[in-house]
Every structure is written in structure tokens, then in C-alpha cells.
Amino acid sequence: MNSDYDKNFEEDKPHSPIAYGDIMMQADKKDDGALFLDIDGFEGPIDLLLKLAREQKVDLIHISILQLARQYLSFVDKARELSLDLAAEYLVMAAWLAYLKSRLLLPKNEDEEEELSGEEMAKALAFQLRRLEAIQNAAEQLFKRPQLGVDIYARGMAEGLDIDIDTSYDVDLYDLLRMYGDIQRRKDNSTYELIEYNLMSMEDAMAMMTRMLGKLPKKGIFSVWTTLTSFLPDGNKDKLLIKSSLASMLTAGLELAKQGRLEIKQDGLFKPIYIRAYERNREKDES
């Protein structure tokens, strides 16, 4: 049933010259010192167990797990005798099978109800073996099927299907007019003349404030406190000019304060700003 499968695998691994059956036969010959055992030929302990089970030549449903455990343990013993390095997983399996063997042979201990019985463990192992065997058989069946490029062929010179991409441009009249508008605007802007606004420059504000500060009534080195807005030019109706005057006056005031020529105070946000002149030269003279 599995001979084809084994043969296939043997071909896969040309470096392992001895099939499993041969290994067992030679391993049985204790006097054969030239024996070498290729453990790499197995896909793990379950696979090795499956090979051993097949030696029993019975349907896996009726396999004797006890006998199988004995076979495996003797296999591992022989491997040890031959000083073969067995991977840890093979040794773990050996330990587990030794334990299973004792569970199967010893009378059932009624106290250990929590644990699986030896029979249950054996059943689980048998299932594992049957499942692995099933999948190995399935793999064999699968690769027996006609394969593309080996048994069945696709067209050798397929022309292939082309995709012709037809690009259409998503542009409408609005886009076109908008764009023309942009060009015209840009062109106009290139010869654009600045409109002259009636604004108060910083220089004007500075001159005006300096002049007005000198006229304020004084007490010692300080003048009286005066609101910023009172510095604004009188009778002005041009809102833009008022705004720019206020801004320029404040900036001028800050500049003069920095120069130490006046002091500024404000009692809170949006409260009136007060300014008074401060004459440092007089202070110096007086002291």
C-alpha cells in the first residue's frame, strides 16, 4: 500500500541509500558492525513509529500499540548502541512510550481517575498514526495526478490579452474659462499699480508723538498721564487712517519707551493706554 510512496521519498533523498526496511533488518543483526542508520530519513518520531507500525503488516486500526512501543524502544536502544546521535524529540518519544508501556501493562490504578488510562493514550497515539498515514497517502495520490507542464499542457505560445488604455481628459469649459481668467488676472497684476491709501507712517507717528509729548504739562521729570487716543489727529473721518494712526502711534510709543523717553501703562486688556513723558536728562541735572 505504501511501497510507491516510500520509493518516491527514497528518490527525494538520494543521500540516504538504505530504505527503512533494510535498516531494521540490519539493525536486527547485532553482529553487523558496519551498519549505519540514517535517522534523517524520518520526518520525526511519529513518522518513525508509523514505519514501525507498517512492519506489523496489519491495518492500523488493529495495531498493537504495546508491540509498537517495544519495537520503538528497541530501535532507540540499538541506535544508542551504535552511538548514533538521536535528536531530543526521539528520546522524548522513547520516554513517553516507556511510560505508556508501563501504563498498559500495570493493573489500572483506580485512584488516578484524573489521568488518561493507558488504553486512552494508546488510542490517541493510534489516531495520530492513522491521521499521518492518511495524509501521506493523500500526498501520494495528489502527486500521482496529471500535473501541469508534465502531463497536461497549457498553450505554449499564448499571445496574452492586451489592455488598451484610452485616456480621456476630464476638462470642461468652466476649467478653460477659469484658466483664461487666471492668465488675464496674472497679466493685469504684472502691471498692477498700488492704490495709494491714506495711512500714517511710523515716521510721521514718531514725529507727531515727540512733538506732542513736549507740549504736555509736566510734574518734575514726568508729564501727566495722557491716553494714547488723544494723540490721534483731530477730526478724522477716514476709518482706515484712524486705524493706521492708532497702530503707528502705539508702535512709536513703544519705540520711545524703549529709548527711555516715556512710560506706558494699561490697567487691563482693552483698557485705555496711558502715556507720560519722562525726561531723563532733567533727572540727571537735578541729582
Partner: protein, 200 residues
């Protein structure tokens, strides 16, 4: 069959001949004008080619022309020599095909041995498997499933055509759970972290 239908069938035939890969009805529909009854045309075409050296086959709901299966021994053609798969790779492929979707841990439970890094890679490279959805279980492990390329390679119309699938299912052997909690399995006892890492 009227003239128009004959023309549509000719186009369908040419499309399937020219295509590099199997084509779905939807893909064909996009390339055939208007009112064509693709289903009917395909079955007509399949019938036309039934006894010829080339057959129209359905793979995973896609259609392609392939040489007739019974001529495999008569065709003296250059075989596509692909790297012979290792036994491990064949087993892993079979597990993925029959048990899909499966996680790497499932595969290791069934084989009772850790799966080398190269095995999954080789199958991916062949275009036979691909990652499926993550499983909604602790760690949300990645699952693996087979591809249309896999079905095409093994001349399977769908995954339900896998040889012996029904028997395996009936015998309960498609149960991918660990056979027994305390049965030693490499995945659980050794290097689990390393194995997990490879999965990512």
C-alpha cells in the same frame, strides 16, 4: 445558433486561447460585448472540445484550454522540470490542501514534528499556497490555504475534487486537533518561540 452567437463563441474561444492564465466568467464578460450568455457559450465550447486533443477545463470557477489528460503519454514535449519536492514539502502541501485553513501549529500537530522554514517557502514560491485569514484564537495565528495555481497544476476543478477527500472526512481523520494533549509533540516541547517567529 445565430450568427451573433457564433461570433461571440469565436471571440470567447480566441480569448481563452490567448490568455496566459485561466479566466473567470467575469473577466470574460468584460471582454465580450453586451448580451452574451457566457455560461451557455462556455458549455457549448466545452462540448465542442470534449473529444479533441485540447479540452476546455474549469479550475476554481475559471476557464482555460489544456491538452487532453489521456494524451499525457503520447505527447513528446519538453517537460517542465521543476525542483523535486522534498517529502516534508509534499506532506505539508497535502495537509494544507486537505485540512485548510490550517495554521503552522496544526501542521506540526499532524506531522508530530517541527516544520522547517524552507518548506512553506518552497510551496509559496511554487504558487501553490497562500496565507489565509488569521484564526480567531489566542495569538491570532496565520492560516494557510491552497491557490488556483495549485488546482490548475493538479487538474482539480475545485478543492472538493481532492482524491479521497470524502473518505478522509468520513473517517474523522481530518480532525486537526492534537490527538492527545500529553502526546509529545515537538511544537509544544521544543523551541516553540522559534517556531512562532517563523510564522510571522
Amino acid at each position: 445558433m445565430n450568427h451573433k452567437t457564433i461570433e461571440q463563441k469565436r471571440i470567447l474561444e480566441a480569448l481563452l486561447f490567448a490568455a496566459k492564465n485561466p479566466m473567470s466568467a467575469q473577466e470574460l464578460y468584460e471582454r465580450i460585448p453586451d448580451d452574451a450568455d457566457i455560461g451557455l457559450l462556455l458549455s457549448e465550447l466545452k462540448k465542442d472540445y470534449k473529444d479533441r486533443g485540447v479540452n476546455l477545463v474549469e479550475i476554481d470557477s475559471k476557464w482555460a484550454f489544456r491538452t487532453a489528460e489521456d494524451l499525457k503519454d503520447a505527447l513528446v514535449l519538453e517537460k517542465q522540470v521543476s525542483k523535486k519536492l522534498s517529502r516534508a514539502a509534499m506532506e505539508v502541501l497535502a495537509i494544507i490542501a486537505y485540512h485548510q485553513p490550517v495554521t503552522r501549529a496544526d501542521i506540526e500537530n499532524i506531522r508530530g514534528v517541527a516544520t522547517g522554514k524552507g518548506t512553506i517557502d518552497v510551496l509559496m514560491e511554487l504558487g501553490w499556497i497562500k496565507p489565509g485569514k488569521r484564526r480567531e484564537s489566542p495569538g491570532r495565528p496565520l492560516t494557510w490555504i491552497t491557490t488556483t495555481g495549485f488546482l490548475d497544476h493538479f487538474s482539480l476543478e475545485s478543492i472538493t475534487d481532492l482524491p479521497g477527500l470524502d473518505e478522509l472526512r468520513a473517517s474523522g481523520l481530518l480532525d486537526r486537533r492534537p490527538a492527545m494533549e500529553n502526546l509529545p509533540s515537538t511544537g509544544e516541547l521544543f523551541d516553540e518561540e522559534g517556531v512562532e517567529k517563523e510564522e510571522d
